[in-house]
Amino acid sequence: MGGSKLDLLQGTLDLMVLQTLAAMGSLHGYGIARRIEQVSGDQVLLNQGTIYASLVRLQQRGWISAAWGVSDNNRKAKFYAITRQGRKQLVEDATHWQKLSEVMGRMFAMEQKGGKP
């Protein structure tokens, strides 16, 4: 893998968007994309455009809401915010991810003890 960026797993982006909105409050699409890039330390391979498929999906599930508004520098933009249902979903998904990542961690630890290169 070296220095190349991480490909996102299916559904990961949805979770990142939810988490970003939960942490930052209301944000427009560009803001969400930038925030994810910054937090990941530019480790994530993200065409910013792909975020819009994720946004519409979350909206249709009722986990985020959207409204047109005006940005800090007076530009019209669509702002997204997480809903109560979205927060519930976020807790569920986050727990799931943490468990999964613990399990994966243990799996890789086992491989090292086995002495394989």
Partner: protein, 883 residues
């Protein structure tokens, strides 16, 4: 879960807001890019670099939009809609092609829908009773007797005691009644039934009560249950009818119930049609019940299968033989079969043959449309190449083409439903009265489902191969194929030729089948029925009531009737026959010679003196029956030649004696055989004078059969029907008069089923012939167009018109002959399914095969002739410049 539902709903809704959603997305993406540009500018980049980097970070704008659309909408459905819109556009752009294809398919599908409706209605539609598959019919058959027969009253009682496989078991028979309500009298169809009859069917009365055991004790209670229709018609839907009295044949009966509507008539060749009322079976135990006249139905136990029931019938058969040790019963076999199967058993096979035949028509229609599509695929190859070049996958192209063909077939299906509606009307108008369950046939939901399924399957069937062909070739090859000349179509050409060959082959099979049925029909029509049907009128007479309770009384009435009718101008002679008219089912009886029962049944008819003259039956030996053979004189009989052979083999029948109805009859004459069925050998016939017949026999026969007045006239018999009726009414207005038919009409009715089959198969064959001719024409004409250049070269090099003609015709006729050859093999393999319906001709009849092969050959020649002539008109100069 709720989130998923919400998502699905949103996705569906988004289909209808595509444009506004797209606009909103455009705005949103634009603002995204602007925000990014502004941030880059703040970081000190030049305006161009700021925009460039913003776009790079964003990724493909089109892709982002597409992914968003997929996420929000229903991508598959949208592709389908897109394909459909495109297909509609394509079809609208070539209306000629669309119209030809749709009409061809509509004919094929419509014919199938119509025949399906009939086959479904007659053969497969479940009976309108609860759990109809549990209703079975129980029959007694004996290798000595003639096929399946019904049982007697005492046999029914035995079966009722040994009914282990059945939850309910019941017997029924049929009896005509003169129903009197107040002052009016009407002839109705009654059905004496045993107690559990309606339990077997699983229906309960709408009003009043069902029969109970007490109704069928002893000689039976005088009670009746009315059908819904009779209740409506005769009683004006009076809800207080229960307990009221009606008269049946002059006797008072109490109405105890009314049945709901929708009871299917049982199959009864003597009295087809709905039953008007039901009476206890015990009423007829000493009349109809003494003979094998009772049909038995059973309802299987809930857990029992037909197979289990059949297994149990084995042991019941053994006991049955012990219980009834007479000659026929000791070899009897009891069997059960599904009631629905029994209802349609006579016509099931021929209907399935017709269904198969109409399937062939559809296959031919499909082949024609596939041919058209292949032709178009060649013409559209550049279009496909362009679409492939700009990125359409092969699957996408195939899907597009299949959408087009299924769209074609579905449009055709809509037209087909219309055609089927019209076709069904004429089919049912043609359909003979002995086609069972025909009244309820109509285009229903099952026909719609069938039509839709057929349309989709045929759409894929005729579209698939052209679609794969069209999408298979190399793009570069197609794009470079500037003018699409002869070289391009060689593969297509072979495939199209194969289609035409199979069309011709299928068509030949159908034509041969039709030819065989036509030949059969001709043979049946030209069979001598044994009497002269021209200028003969027959009239059904139903006498009833106490006034006619002796042979003398009946005889007096008919003597008067004959006298009055013979006095009418235009009448040559008149006479009476009971127990069955020629070419209609009649009563059969056993009789003995020298006290020994003859192992055969005889069609015994009671007649008045002039019968043979009136019906035109030739006297062969001895004398006819005369008015002198009356009550006081010794019993005299005339027998048919076949009866003479059976009763007195190798002897002179005249003067011989036989015993029937406790009387000793002397044969005084022999007449020619008269047929009951045109396509079967004549049954042995015995004629006795009505005036000498014991009254119980007359009474028994009158239960099932009308007595017929037969009138020979010098001109059109129909013209006399009214005055004959008037004469009969004048003697006794209480007498019921039924159908008036000329004997020509009786003969037509006897061949109606055959005529129906023959007409249907001929129509299908004609349709197939037309479609096949169009198919051949299409392929050859297309070939000529493709080879215009080549033909031009040949002519320029000195080929005569004759040579060109031979070239084109040769190509077409090669296909034709190949198809005919394959078709002959197919016909030899398939026409044996018709064997049971043929008369006077073999299924492998070479004449039928040769005639159809020649006909098809001529049609093929004509179909090739038109394009061949056009080919000879090619101007070499024009053709060469065509480059």
């Amino acid at each position: 879960m709720i989130d998923q539902i919400r998502e699905t709903i949103s996705r569906c809704l988004s289909l209808f807001r595509r444009d506004s959603l797209d606009r909103e997305l455009d705005d949103e993406l634009a603002s995204h890019v602007e925000l990014a540009v502004e941030e880059n500018l703040r970081r000190g980049l030049s305006p161009e670099e700021a925009r460039r980097q913003a776009l790079v970070r964003f990724g493909g704008v089109q892709q982002a939009k597409e992914r968003q659309r997929e996420a929000r909408g229903m991508p598959r459905l949208e592709t389908l809609l897109q394909d459909l819109r495109y297909a509609l556009r394509v079809l609208r752009r070539s209306p000629g092609f669309a119209v030809v294809a749709i009409i061809t398919l509509a004919l094929g599908i419509g014919a199938n829908t119509a025949v399906f409706s009939i086959v479904y209605g007659v053969v497969f539609r479940p009976l309108p009773y609860p759990q109809p598959q549990r209703i079975v019919e129980l029959t007694e058959s004996s290798p000595r007797g003639s096929g399946e027969q019904d049982v007697t009253y005492s046999e029914l009682q035995f079966l009722e005691q040994h009914n282990s496989p059945f939850q309910f078991l019941a017997g029924y028979t049929v009896q005509g009644y003169n129903l009197g309500v107040g002052n009016s009298t009407e002839r109705v169809k009654g059905q004496p039934v045993s107690t559990d009859y309606f339990h077997v069917l699983g229906i309960t009365p709408l009003l009043g009560r069902d029969f109970v055991t007490e109704d069928n004790i002893g000689k039976g209670a005088r009670v009746a249950i009315l059908s819904y229709e009779t209740w409506q018609r005769q009683m004006g839907s009076d809800r207080d009818i229960i307990g009221r009295t009606i008269t049946l044949d002059g006797e008072p009966f109490t109405v105890i119930g009314v049945m709901p509507t929708g009871i299917e008539p049982e199959i009864d060749p003597i009295a087809p049609g709905d039953t008007d009322l039901w009476t206890p079976l015990a009423l007829v135990r000493d009349t109809a019940g003494t003979g094998e006249n009772i049909e038995v139905l059973g309802r299987l136990r809930p857990a029992a299968s037909l197979v289990q029931a059949r297994a149990q019938m084995g042991s019941i058969t053994a006991e049955f033989r012990k219980a009834f040790p007479d000659e026929l019963s000791t070899t009897a076999v009891l069997s059960v079969d599904s009631y629905r199967t029994m209802l349609s058993s006579d016509v099931r096979n021929i209907l399935l043959v017709l269904f198969g035949a109409v399937g062939f028509v559809l296959l031919i229609a499909c082949a024609n449309v596939a041919n058209l599509l292949l032709g178009r695929a060649t013409a559209r190859s550049r279009e496909f190449a362009v679409r492939a070049a700009i990125g359409a996958s092969r699957t996408r192209l195939v899907r597009q083409l299949l959408t087009e063909s299924v769209l074609l077939s579905i449009v055709a299906a809509l037209l087909a439903l219309l055609l089927a509606r019209i076709g069904m009307k004429s089919l049912l108008a043609l359909s003979p009265s002995d086609l069972p369950r025909v009244n309820d046939i109509h285009l229903d939901a099952s026909a719609f489902v069938f039509t839709l399924a057929v349309a989709i399957i045929t759409g894929i069937l005729f579209g698939l191969i052209p679609a794969f062909r069209a999408s298979s070739k190399e793009i570069s090859e197609k794009l470079s194929e500037a003018t699409g000349r002869a070289s391009s179509g060689s593969k297509h050409g072979r495939f199209r030729s194969a289609l035409v060959v199979s069309e011709v082959a299928l068509c030949l099979v159908l034509l041969t089948g039709a030819a065989l049925l036509i030949e059969t029909f001709w043979h049946v029509l030209n069979t001598d029925p044994g009497f002269n049907p021209t200028h003969v009128l027959s009239l059904e007479v139903y006498r009833s009531g106490a006034r006619y309770n002796s042979t003398a009384a009946v005889s007096r009435y008919y003597d008067q009737a004959v006298q009055r009718v013979e006095a009418l101008p235009g009448v040559q002679s008149a006479s009476v026959i009971t127990a069955g008219l020629p070419l209609r089912r009649g009563a059969n009886f056993g009789l003995s010679v020298a006290g020994k029962q003859i192992p055969h049944t005889f069609g015994i008819r009671m007649i008045t003196s002039d019968y043979f003259r009136a019906m035109g039956v030739p006297l062969m030996l001895g004398r006819s029956l005369t008015a002198a053979d009356g009550e006081k004189s010794p019993p005299a009989a005339v027998i048919s030649q076949q009866a003479a052979r059976l009763l007195f083999p190798g002897q002179n029948a005249i003067g011989q004696r036989f015993q029937f109805a406790q009387l000793d009859w002397q044969v005084v004459g022999v007449v020619g055989d008269v047929k009951s069925y045109l396509d079967k050998p004549a049954d042995p016939g015995v004629y006795i004078p009505l005036a000498q017949t014991p009254y119980p026999v007359l009474k028994l026969v009158a239960v099932w059969f009308p007595e017929y007045l037969v009138v020979r006239t010098s001109a059109d018999p129909q013209a006399l029907s009214h005055s004959v009726e008037q004469q009969l009414q004048a003697i006794d207005p209480s007498i019921g008069l039924g159908h008036v038919r000329t004997m020509e009409q009786v003969r037509s009715a006897a061949v109606a089923m055959r005529q129906f089959n023959m007409t249907l198969l001929s129509v299908f064959a004609a349709l197939a012939l037309i479609l096949a001719a169009i198919g051949i024409y299409g392929v050859i004409a297309y070939g000529v167009t493709q080879r215009t250049h080549e033909i031009g070269v040949r002519m320029a090099l000195g080929a005569e018109r004759r040579d060109i003609m031979r070239l084109v015709l040769g190509q077409g006729m090669a296909l034709g002959f190949l198809g005919i050859g394959i078709g002959i093999a197919g016909a030899l393999a398939l026409t044996r399914f018709l064997q049971g319906y043929l008369y006077g001709v073999q299924a492998t009849d070479p004449r039928a095969l040769i005639a159809t092969a020649v006909l098809l050959g001529v049609v093929a020649l004509l179909a090739c002739g038109i394009p061949a002539r056009r080919a000879t008109k090619v101007d070499p100069m024009v053709a060469l410049r065509h480059e």
